[in-house]
């Protein structure tokens, strides 16, 4: 009961907090009760007037959205320490809180602030009483091994959100051993049929903040995909009443048409080294995979088959593509070795398997599985293994992975509208990201932006 209350309170506080209100809301639908309890104590503002910005709410929301942590609400905190020296370890341990994040904000100069924070292991702190010692060069010194990380930075008020995501990255890595993916963005397409230009290519922080329109069109836009340096998007536009592939610099608005072959010009994906783009062209008869080398615009044909071949995805080593093919009758996933040309079928379960994307680790891939007419996001070991269906939403498609491989963003249908949704790769955490208006689709998660 208590736990339920806490969860309810937490979701309410996240939903109503002004800082959580981006272009895309987040509605967590499953998995918060299996997450690890932690606390992000509101950072102390050592200055005059109102605090220049919120940090702890952004960090708490990040950590909760990772699906791995359940930050307790401020109202449930036994105390409000701002440094490790002030922490009452027993009080926090009594709540079952594993780790706490504390910090301070101080004015450094005009519109520049010093932000200090510490990540503290509550259980270790309780054992040592915060005064652990170790031998160094024959002398007993304080080891403070309960302090997992402690940092200090000077930032401007406009950088508060970004620095908050940086703190989330540090906390996440200390507590999970894997890098966080909070300083990332997503690109997506919105469709609002009431607009004169209904189709918009958007980019926003991964949590929906700082949304920007990169392109508005009266014809469909599809398949945005990031360059590995995070500076460019490659996508398909029908602005000339035919499919064409464009590359756009997201900072300078420079925009170049890459292909305009007869037929399909589709699904462009940058190679891991950023020098080539895999794509689907039907100029030679039916949809086939090609690779274009950007330096000289040379095309290499990868597949040659009478059936549909589409949806290329690079393996992290850049040596193979996985793709969807109808060569076996129904759409299934295959891999092709780019040196030898050898093709291997990867999926066998369900009626259809499509839209495969290899995980950054290279040992698994996510895909869209169709079973009994239902389309769901699933994962499978690469190159072979059992399939695990991760979602129960409807008409799931376009899965895209966070660069640390922890979370999948995908497109689904909710109440008759296309919305984005999140599912953790372990399938435990699920959330929906409804837009304020219109439909949202084709999400693409950026690489690390640092």
């Amino acid at each position: 009961m208590m736990k339920k209350l806490v969860i309810l309170f937490l979701s309410l506080s996240v939903l109503t907090s002004p800082l959580a209100r981006g272009a895309l809301e987040i509605v967590i639908t499953e998995g918060i009760d299996t997450a690890r309890p932690i606390a992000v104590v509101p950072f102390r503002w050592n200055g005059e007037g109102p605090a220049p910005g919120d940090i702890s709410n952004v960090v708490a929301a990040d950590l909760m959205r990772s699906g791995k942590f359940n930050p307790i609400p401020a109202a449930a905190m036994p105390q409000m320490p701002s440094t490790s020296g002030e922490v009452d370890y027993a009080a926090w341990a009594g709540l079952g809180v594993e780790a706490i994040v504390v910090g301070t904000v101080e004015e450094y100069s005009v519109d520049r602030y010093t932000i200090k924070f510490e990540v503290i292991d509550v259980l270790r702190g309780q054992i040592t009483g915060g005064g652990s010692q170790m031998l160094r060069e024959g002398e007993l010194v304080a080891s403070n091994d309960h302090i997992l990380d402690a940092r200090s930075s000077v930032v401007t008020s406009s950088q508060f959100r970004q620095y908050s995501h940086r703190i989330s990255d540090v906390v996440y890595e200390e507590l999970t051993g894997e890098p966080g993916a909070f300083m990332t963005r997503i690109a997506y397409v919105t469709v609002n049929y009431n607009d004169d230009k209904p189709y918009q290519l958007m980019v926003a922080d991964y949590d929906g903040y700082g949304e920007r329109v990169l392109l508005r069109s009266n014809q469909p836009l599809m398949s945005p995909s990031w360059s590995p340096d995070g500076n460019k998007l490659v996508y398909v536009s029908f602005e000339n009443k035919t499919a064409e592939i464009f590359i756009q610099d997201i900072y300078t608005t420079r925009r170049d048409k890459l292909t305009s072959f007869p037929g399909i010009n589709g699904n462009p994906i940058f190679s891991p080294d950023g020098k080539r783009i895999a794509m689907v062209l039907s100029k030679d008869g039916n949809p086939e995979l090609y690779i274009m080398t950007l330096a000289n615009q040379q095309l290499q044909r990868v597949t040659n088959n009478r059936a549909i071949d589409t949806e290329p995805s690079w393996t992290p080593d850049g040596k193979s593509l996985i793709f969807t093919s109808e060569r076996g009758g129904r759409p299934q996933l295959y891999s092709v070795n780019l040196q030898s040309g050898s093709v291997r079928r990867l999926t066998f379960e369900g009626e259809q398997n499509l839209g495969g994307t290899v995980m950054p680790s290279g040992d698994q891939f996510v895909l869209v599985n169709r079973t009994r007419g239902n389309y769901h996001i699933a994962k499978q070991d690469y190159p072979s293994g059992a399939m695990q269906v991760l979602t129960q939403t409807s008409l799931d498609e376009s899965p895209s992975l966070a660069p640390n491989g922890s979370m999948i963003i995908y497109s689904t249908t909710h109440n008759g509208k296309q919305v984005l949704a999140l599912v953790s790769v372990d399938g435990r955490f699920k959330a929906r990201l409804p837009a304020r208006e219109g439909e949202v689709k084709s999400p693409s998660w950026s690489p690390y932006l640092r």
Partner: protein, 177 residues
């Protein structure tokens, strides 16, 4: 049997076509102006004037039917299918006839899919539908240079809803002149 169906269709289509010609003075004005005034005068005079059906040559009849059929631009497909159902044979024959007689006219065949399946796969499926129509028209003698295709996949639904009847309407090829 087929002829019977055709005659029935003609019986319905012809009066509608005449009616449409009389009432639609807002769009295609050319040539119908005199007819309108004529009829108005007759109505005002208080007499009813009848007319006999003009006997048309088979070619004229066929042409009239084709003109009527060509008002329809959509061909619908079954789920995951790009095969053209036999019910569209006359519709496509009418378009082919027109294109053969007017070699300077080009047509774009759009292929569309319903929202099920991935957007990229649906682009491929939409193209296959558009190409099935192209191939059909070519077999009826239409020059390839008059025909081009574009697939919009699931991006431009005709009916924006997630149910079977909407899906059936969205799985289509459209001839755009």
């Amino acid at each position: 049997m087929n002829l019977n169906k055709f005659l029935k269709g003609l019986a319905i289509a012809l009066p509608i076509a005449t009616l449409a010609a009389c009432s639609s003075n807002q769009q295609t004005d050319s040539g119908t102006g005199t007819q309108d005034t004529n009829q108005q005068q007759q109505q005002e005079s208080g007499v009813d004037v009848g007319a006999a059906d003009r006997t048309m040559s088979p070619e004229e009849q066929r042409q009239e039917k084709y003109d009527e059929l060509r008002k329809e631009h959509m061909i619908y497909f079954a789920f995951d299918e790009s095969r053209i159902a036999s019910e569209y044979a006359e519709l496509l024959a009418a378009h082919a006839d027109y294109l053969v007689k007017n070699p300077s006219v080009d047509v774009v065949i759009e292929g569309h899919a319903d929202e099920r399946g991935t957007p990229e796969y649906n682009i491929a499926l939409g193209e296959r539908r558009a190409k099935a129509v192209t191939e059909y028209l070519r077999n009826l003698g239409v020059n390839s240079s008059q025909l081009s295709t574009v697939s919009y996949g699931e991006e431009k639904p005709l009916v924006r809803a997630s149910n079977e009847s909407a899906y059936a309407k969205n799985r289509r090829a459209v001839l755009v002149y």
